[in-house]
Amino acid sequence: MNKLLTAAVAASMALGASWAQAQEAVTLQLKWVTQAQFAGYYVALENGFYKDEGLDVTIKPGGPDVAPAQVIAGGGADVVLDWMPSALASREKGLDLVNIAQPFKSSGMMLTCRKDAGISTPADFAGKTLGVWFFGNEYPFLSWMSKLGLKTDGSDGGVTVLKQGFNVDPILQGQAACVSTMTYNEYWQIIDAGLTPDDLVVFKYEDQGVATLEDGMYVLGENLKDPAFEDRMVRFVRASMKGWKWAEENPDAAAMIVLDYDETGAQTEKHQKRMMGEIAKLTAGSNGALDPADYQRTVDSLMSGGSDPVITKQPEGAWTSVITDKALN
């Protein structure tokens, strides 16, 4: 058994080594399961954009219990996709995550509410039950609530928070007045389930002035000191952005590429094409470079958390323009 194991490990390592000589290996850890949210990377892989840059890229899908920050700390990936709030929170835990590129300009996060639950403005939230994702995704919500002055610990005059699973059942079954949704995904699941846009009120984080940066590319700061790594990242970002722009121009084809890479075979063509259309709106304003103003807005929103801010001090060195400067010019 043991021998077999060592042999297998040795073989796979040898295989990896021989690949590396021809092409340099880069492993990307996604934040979530394979879907059009990550179309740019799959497009770059499928269309050979990475290969053209001399990279052999492996894309690892995520899942509800995969923390990208933990994966990169464990050396399981070279680059991870993460939301800035949780990346900055990880920095405060001592993990040196650095944003090297930001393909998503706008936030797709929103809170979707049922009209019949008596909600028409954020002022109506008090006393209601709201569904929220946790696992590092709760930070934008918490900072919004503290901006509204609503308590989230279940005390009087505040809101009752529910950890929603990975689906929108709570709003369909009336267990929650609102649930967290993404413009490109969960919102359409509510629509598919039979509720109409007329039944719903949506509050986009973008419109509420509490938008935070989503789906940035993060690497470990110590790796960046290595010029060879930096060079690999420059090529990676360049190819990825090429993939994103291709996906924006050919949304339907990009969705089909994503479908081909879906290991579970559970995604549907209709949903992915629609998602790609919504994703394209979010990536549209970005060429990959992080806008310092967006960054500052995210940081301010996270630090304004009243008595319990998400991050306690101004982060330093949490992003760099070195990679994008070289990659895009």
């Binding site: 509800p64 933990q70 700390a73 990880s90 835990k93 696992f135 709760e138 950890k163 699973g165 059942d169």
Partner: protein, 281 residues
Amino acid sequence: MSVLAAVLVYWIASLALNVWLANRYNTRLVRLVVPAIFGITILVVWEGVVRGLEINPVLLPAPTAIGVAFAGALDTLWVDFVQTFVKGALSGYIIGCGAAFLVAVAVDRSPFLQRGLLPVGNFVAALPIIGMAPILVMWFGFDWQSKSAVVVVMVFFPMLVNTVQGLQASDHMQRDLMRTYAASYPQALMKLRLPAAMPFIFNGLKIASTLALIGAIVAEFFGSPIKGMGFRISTEVGRLALDMVWAEIAVAALAGSAFYGSVAMIEKAVTFWHPSQRGQS
């Protein structure tokens, strides 16, 4: 490196101590001390390896760091414990085991139902019931009721199968004897068949006790209010607060062991006559 060497020396020393103790003495004290030394050794080796190899705390925190987190968050841990263990696991355990017991006694009078139920029950007991967790959360809402429901479904069939088997455990001679005494069905049940079934029933109860906590925690992964052990574990992993995660795991392990232990102690008191309990001090 020196830390690792020291750990290695400690490890060998404590192993040797254990072997010496176990072979030399056989008192109640030694029966407690030996596993304790083994457990402490594991903790020390863990601590040493984490420090010696400088493992990143977001991957595996050292036991001392976990201890600090544990001591610093006692009230949170208590709230979670009540939510998951008392409300979710314990209520589901009692309902599930109780219902299974009653069903087993009810079908006991009908050999027809027994022959049908036993294979089907065995089949269902082997199912990955965990897969039902998302469905039950959908049906019973997000609070502890759905956790309880998952536990009920998880413990029901192992308990049912064991009880049905146990009620058949008395042999023909004994049952014939009851008949010669002109015992009624309830009398025979109470005086002979239930006592004879106890070892099986407790076997079921013990299996169910480890399942109950796991079921309740798993169910929280599919949606929960903002307290509970499963909620805390999944949230804190996302926040990279691994020390808190392990503190929560420690609570689960302590609660689970205590639960199992108390069922085993009741078993000892109830089935003192059974061969498996005799000859043990």
